[in-house]
Structure formats: C-alpha cells, structure tokens
Symmetry: C2
Amino acid sequence: MLELAILGLLHGSPLHGYELRQRLKATLGTFRAFSYGSLYPTLRRMKEAGWLCEDDGNAEVVAGAPALTGRRGKVVYKLTAEGKERFQELLAEAGPTSWEDETFGVHFAFFGQTDPEVRVRILEGRRSRLEERREGVRTTLARTRSRLDRYTLQLQEHGLESVEREVRWLTELIETERRSTVPPAVPTPNPEERGAP
Amino acid sequence: MLELAILGLLHGSPLHGYELRQRLKATLGTFRAFSYGSLYPTLRRMKEAGWLCEDDGNAEVVAGAPALTGRRGKVVYKLTAEGKERFQELLAEAGPTSWEDETFGVHFAFFGQTDPEVRVRILEGRRSRLEERREGVRTTLARTRSRLDRYTLQLQEHGLESVEREVRWLTELIETERRSTVPPAVPTPNPEERGAP
DNA sequence: TTCGTCATGTAATGGGTTACATGATTAC
DNA sequence: GTAATCATGTAACCCATTACATGACGAA
C-alpha cells in the first residue's frame, strides 16, 4: 500500500521523504498521512530492493552551493527501471482482497499510469465487491429490520445508500472507460471527417 | 475496537466466539469480520481482565443433555459487572483520534446504550473531523484542479461528495438528538403562544 | 539566540491477519 | 463413513503507529 503509493508519487518526480509525506496527505486527498515511522524504513527497504535510488539532481547547479555541510541533508529518491516495473506489476496485480477501500483508492489514483484493460478490471472488481456487500446488507436488513434499534437501522440504511451511490459511480466510470477504449476489432470506421485531435 | 464490539454484542446476550464473529460481520453490517486469530486471544485477554466470564447457561435445562462429551464444546461468554462498566467507559471515552471511520461506526452501533450527551458529542466530533477534511479537499482542489489528471479529479470529487453527504446526515442526526433531548436550562419560556412545534 | 518547521531516523508496541492444527457435530 | 461446517485455538508475521532522539536552517 505505502509501497504502491510511493512508487506512484515518485513516478511523477523525484522527492525526499518529508515531501513525499506531504503529498500523501495533501496532493492525493485519498491517502492518509503515513507516519515517518513507517515511511522512512519503507524507503530504505525499497532502496535496498533496488526499486529506488538516490537522486543527486544530476550534480548540476551551484557546485559550492549554500551549506551542504557534513551531510544529513535531504535524501531525494527517484525510481529505478526495476522500480517502474514493480510499479506496473503492483498496479496490475489484484487478488480480490485487493479491492478493499483504501487499496482501491490508491490504485484509482494512479489510473493515469494504468492499462485500460486493468482499469476496467479493477473497477469491475470493486463494483462486484460492493454489490455483494449491498446484497448482504439488504438481506439482513429485510430479515431483521423490525428487531433493530433506531440507531443500528440508521447506520445500516446510511451505509446501504453509500454503497448504492458508489456502485452507480463505478458503473458510470466503467461505461466511460468502455466508450473511450477503442473496441478491439472494428478499426476506425471512417478515417475522414475528424477536426481537432 | 474489537474489544468494544465484543462488549457491545455480549451486552445483548451471552455468545460464544464463533457466533460472535458471525454477528460481527452480519448482524451489525458495519463491522468487518475479525479473524479468529484475533478474536479468540482477545476473548481470553478480556476474560483474564475480568470483563467476561464463562456462562454455563445456569446449568439449567436437560441435565443429561445430548453429548457434552469429554468437553471441548462451545465456550459461551457473558459480561461481568466490570465488563459492563468497561463498556460504558469505552463508549464515553473518545480522544479525537477515536472518530476515525471504523471506530465511529462501532460507537454509533451502540448508541442505544449510550448517554444522550455522549451521543451528541460523538456525532459532533465526527462532523468536525469530516468538515476539516472537506475543507482540506476543497482547498487543494481549488488550487490544483487544473494540474490534476482526469482520474485523480474524479476521485477527489467523488470523495468530496461523500463527505458532504455524510456531514448532512450527521447534521440531521444531531438535530434529531437535540429535539428529543430536553434542553437543560430554559424551562419552557412561554407556555402560551405556540401553535405547531 | 531561540523558536518553529523542515528533515531523518530508531525502538517499542499495537492490532490485526494468514496459515496451520485440531476436534466435535450434523447431514447425506 | 465421510464430507461440510461448526468450533477453538496457536504461532508467525505484517504493516503500521507512537514516542523518542537528532540535527539543519531560517526568521523573529
């Protein structure tokens, strides 16, 4: 999870740990702010695994720059080739466990870097899960509605509506994906008549 | 979390571990299905702490009942007096950390057993958190909207709507609570001149 | 010169999961 | 009698958090 998020953010541009964390909570609103206690060790592990390396900014710019005294400055990381591979691997990989809430959010956030097919697969996976859950809630609600107290009922119904709402959202997204993906066969029916790209 | 959920469910009626788990995922749709690997050890700890004890069903009913051979049958737990205290304690206790999602759900599920004041406090706490989050998202969205890719934008906006929706829900709930709770001071200012409420 | 914030890190701990091992009960 | 499922439990691990320690740098 953290790993995927890191790879994804670093895919954009090299960053050091501290800023990475800011991005995690702010830039992508989905992620929670992982603590440094998990962030830094993870960065180290990933570096050791060969997915990241330190970025010296090409050693360019001011050679005798202001105070890089004694070291202990920022440590800027960037993706290695293996890191990029690993990123794609993680994006595509998806045991059904993987669609649970947070993970889905992270995957979704990097859809821009994801294969169209994988996107649809992930969206559909998520939707199935939610539909299962929806049916579960509906069933128990139908069976136990009368026995439930006011609050439990409120909670269930609110939950149910949330799920229904998200299912609709996903359905729209899936349709959009399908429309924008060129259907495998049927290659561009009419090469003429096209204005702007 | 698990602890509170267990205390809450056991508050209703004595249960054994296995059934407890079914209830966790089904009866209260809010909870996820904690694994036995966490459930049973937790039950043991809680028993050792004196919050639970085994329930022998009052030794009543059929004395030579069908097959309670050798033992290793169900272990039915019920709350002790300390357990009930502990439950109330956990319900009321709420460092602001505590309003995060899951915890809120569990607290809410037991609102029937919770003090009216505590209920309002929890609802308002949750709402503030969500409002903070909402503002955060709105701000970053306003600042970075143009730089965001299609998917990130979708995600943010969907998230924002979810939050807004929940805030409205909470506001309604709070109002309902307030109406049903007799206002502390101000004992009916003017018994006359009031048509409909 | 001191305070806030940027910046990196470690150690202890927490709260859960997975995988595994085992036995009892019920339905076929 | 055997398979499914009810029922209890342990051990190893995972992924994160908290609390702590350290230090650089800019602004008041």
